[in-house]
């Protein structure tokens, strides 16, 4: 067994190497913007548009359109489908901090605005390029500013919301299937609970709601927007779990879970996707981009005409929406600002809406007949433009604190745990409290 010693030595080395690999995972960073001068080989200015999720620019053909109008510009759009919180935000933060690796134009999600726009030295002031305040409702324009008044972002879409439901499953449970009738019946949350009870009593064997996450987000935004604006945590990292919005939303979820109206489909899980094709749940709160961007591809052509969309319960609501910003580190900030302004201009917002359904933030684009009178064929010709526009009308802005994303994650995880039986409903608030405290502690400066 003379091999043993050699094996041992090699193994020790392998252990050290593997350990190092595990450690270096903690130090990894993203970004591959290698070209320092920002020019392509044939001397064109290369503008990298770094995005997450679905902005719809590729789908709407805007990349080609812009290049056709500008001979000297090469637009590169990257990051389609990337997760905002898990991948895009950490990578962007690292790139901003190290001063390289961010795109020339970057997408910013509403929940990251306060966090990322707080340091204006990272950003090019778009007011130097053009003052487009008149293109937007006030709050969408103002949320795109840093505390010292730098215009960091041009708004793209807003998250108007509706209720997506399966007519066939509602009918099987004896519920109304007409979208006007439903909107009237669940115009308040008590009305929604009554319909949920009626659905559960019919005992069709199919869940009413998909899971807690979508509804929690709709409720939280709506209650906070119509109330004092407080959600889970304030700007100093103090938990505000006793706020009206946090209490109201969580309690509504717990009540609906109590009567058995919430399915065990974790948002974005394989089961959730399968359930949309199999008819595993009957209703789901959905932001404007969800019907065409998520539900239609997941449900497939076999289910065309079974889905419909109605106005959501309560008054208004907004979930999500984005901005385009130009990092100060860009090699061509002016050209990048021009591109960002063009991409977020009302005409392009309309094209994006037509391509992927992201609802415009510009009132001019919202009023465009292509948006206002739009219907969705897959969703039984529901007037989605009208429903979504009504949901964001006069809706006040929400300010998400720096600590909101980790606390939101903690709350959603506990609620999923209540639904799948890991936590007893009566322990939900205690579990949320301790999970949220840990999240704050980790995200705060203390550690």
């Amino acid at each position: 067994m003379h091999l043993l010693n050699r094996q041992h030595g090699r193994a020790a080395l392998a252990a050290a190497a593997a350990g190092a690999l595990a450690l270096s995972a903690a130090a990894c960073s993203g970004g591959d913007d290698g070209d320092e001068d920002g020019l392509t080989e044939d001397g064109k200015i290369q503008l990298t548009v770094s995005l997450f999720g679905t902005f719809g620019y590729t789908e709407a053909g805007l990349e080609a359109e812009y290049e056709a109008a500008h001979d000297n510009i090469d637009v590169v759009i990257e990051g389609d489908g990337v997760n905002w919180d898990a991948e895009f935000r950490p990578t962007l933060e690292t790139a901003l901090e190290t001063g390289s690796g961010a795109g020339d134009v970057v997408g910013i999600e509403e929940q990251g605005v306060v966090q990322l726009f707080s340091d204006s030295s990272h950003w090019y002031d778009l007011k130097d390029y053009s003052d487009r305040a008149s293109d937007y409702v006030d709050w969408k324009w103002e949320l795109g500013q840093s505390p010292d008044g730098t215009q960091v972002g041009f708004g793209t879409d807003v998250g108007g919301m509706g209720m997506c439901y399966r007519k066939d499953l509602f009918e099987a449970a004896g519920l109304p299937t007409d979208r006007e009738e439903l909107a009237a019946a669940w115009s308040t949350w008590d009305g929604f609970k009554a319909l949920a009870q009626q659905y559960v009593d019919a005992d069709t064997g199919v869940a009413f709601l998909d899971g807690p996450t979508q509804l929690q987000n709709m409720l939280l935004g709506q209650l906070a927007g119509n109330g004092d604006g407080e959600m889970y945590v304030d700007a100093d990292g103090n938990l505000t779990l006793d706020s009206a919005a946090a209490q109201g939303s969580i309690n509504t979820i717990l009540e609906l879970n109590e009567i058995g109206a919430i399915g065990n489909f974790v948002s974005w899980s394989e089961e959730w996707i399968a359930a949309q094709a199999e008819g595993g749940f009957a209703v789901m709160p959905c932001p404007g981009w969800m019907p065409s961007g998520v539900i239609e591809p997941n449900s497939g052509p076999d289910n065309a005409g079974k889905w419909d969309m109605a106005a959501a319960p309560g008054i208004g609501g907004n979930w999500g929406g984005s901005w385009l910003a130009v990092p100060a580190q860009s090699a061509h900030p002016e050209e990048a600002a021009e591109l960002a302004a063009w991409l977020s201009a009302p005409e392009q917002q309309v094209k994006v809406f037509e391509a992927v359904g992201n609802f415009p933030s510009s009132p001019e684009a919202q009023a465009d007949p292509k948006v206002a009178d739009s219907t969705n064929a897959y969703f039984s010709d529901a007037p989605t433009g009208q429903i979504l526009a009504a949901s964001v009308q006069n809706f006040p802005p929400l300010t998400y604190s720096y600590y909101h994303p980790p606390v939101k994650g903690a709350v959603e995880t506990v609620l999923n745990g209540v639904v799948d039986g890991t936590f007893a409903p009566e322990d939900a608030f205690d579990e949320i409290q301790s999970a949220a405290e840990e999240a704050i502690q980790l995200a705060g400066g203390g550690l």
Partner: protein, 311 residues
């Protein structure tokens, strides 16, 4: 002049040839060690430095806090200790059957088979499969409502199991994924080692009247000892840094179920870094994981080293 040069030349040559003999091997192996220093030693040192500081991405400058980050993980952050438990549990659940089956498969492949190449290729197929695809497929196989396993359980009248909700059930599902991916790799290594065992050992044993089973335990296993140590070692490191399989099982989330039922230490590390942007605590988690791996590897080595054969 000429005499002096003539006298110096051989001396210089001698020195050069000596240096060649002594230094060249080091020069030839140096690329690995230079890379290892850059991508191994430096990150480890930097991580150690980070782990001793309160260091937030986008926050204030790092502040030295000593061992506070380690203390937080070990005593305040329950998820960390549970994650070590989860990692060890899934490691045992995944590795033991994996190596045993791999050994059996390798032994079978080592016999006379028709089309041996085809079988060996098939055994290797999982390794070249994209891990994301594997994750999606396995998440569907073990799904609660539409999963294949639950469909089968319903057929035989047992009823559905929410595989993600319980610790034991999620461990089984994830271990199945790990086993499926790595069994072939290990059996190929075993197979290669088995083929180097001298045939005359088996012939002599056959003449002495040893049964195939006796031959397997008395000849094959002891002869495989170095390779066994190697595979156990690699599996330990792989098992202790388990990340992709449990993450894919939870659709790419890092929390490992609603209460961290299957959150591994590597997932805690990445979660702290990505969700909370906390370099310091994440780095401390990395070092603690490194220590755990070292301990587990040492224990495994001691256990496997006790395999004895009559040589």
């Amino acid at each position: 002049m000429t005499t002096e040069t003539a006298a110096r030349s051989p001396k210089w040559r001698l020195w050069a040839s000596k240096a060649d003999i002594k230094a060249t091997p080091y020069a030839l192996v140096s690329p690995y060690f230079i890379l290892f220093a850059v991508f191994g030693v430096f990150p480890m040192g930097y991580t150690l430095y980070a782990s001793l500081h309160a260091w937030k991405l986008g926050g204030a400058d790092p502040v030295f806090v000593g061992l506070d980050n380690y203390k937080f993980l070990l005593f305040d952050y329950d998820r960390f200790n549970w994650s070590v438990f989860n990692t060890l549990g899934m490691f045992v659940l995944a590795t033991v059957p994996q190596l045993v089956v791999a050994l059996m498969v390798a032994n079978a492949l080592n016999k006379r088979l028709r089309r041996p190449m085809l079988w060996r290729m098939l055994i290797l197929a999982p390794i070249v499969t994209s891990v994301v695809a594997v994750g999606v497929i396995f998440a569907r196989i073990w799904g609660q409502e539409y999963g294949m396993v639950n469909g089968f359980l319903e057929l035989v009248g047992i009823g559905k199991v929410d595989w993600q909700a319980e610790r034991w059930s999620s461990w089984i599902a994830i271990s199945s994924m790990v086993d499926w991916r790595w069994m072939g790799y290990n059996s190929l290594i075993f197979l290669a080692a088995m083929q180097t065992i001298p045939r005359n050992l088996y012939e002599a044993a056959t003449v002495d009247g040893a049964s195939p089973r006796q031959q397997f335990w008395q000849i094959t296993i002891p002869q495989l000892k170095p390779v066994l140590i190697f595979t156990v070692f690699v599996s330990s490191v792989g098992g202790m840094t388990m990340f992709v399989e449990p993450m894919m099982f939870d659709s790419g989330r890092l929390l490992g179920g609603t209460d961290g039922q299957y959150q591994t230490t590597a997932m805690v590390l990445v979660d702290i870094l990505r969700t909370h942007g906390n370099y310091g605590v994440s780095a401390a988690a990395g070092w603690l994981l490194f220590l755990v791996i070292g301990i587990v590897a040492a224990i495994n080595f001691l256990i496997v080293n006790r395999i004895q054969g009559n040589k």
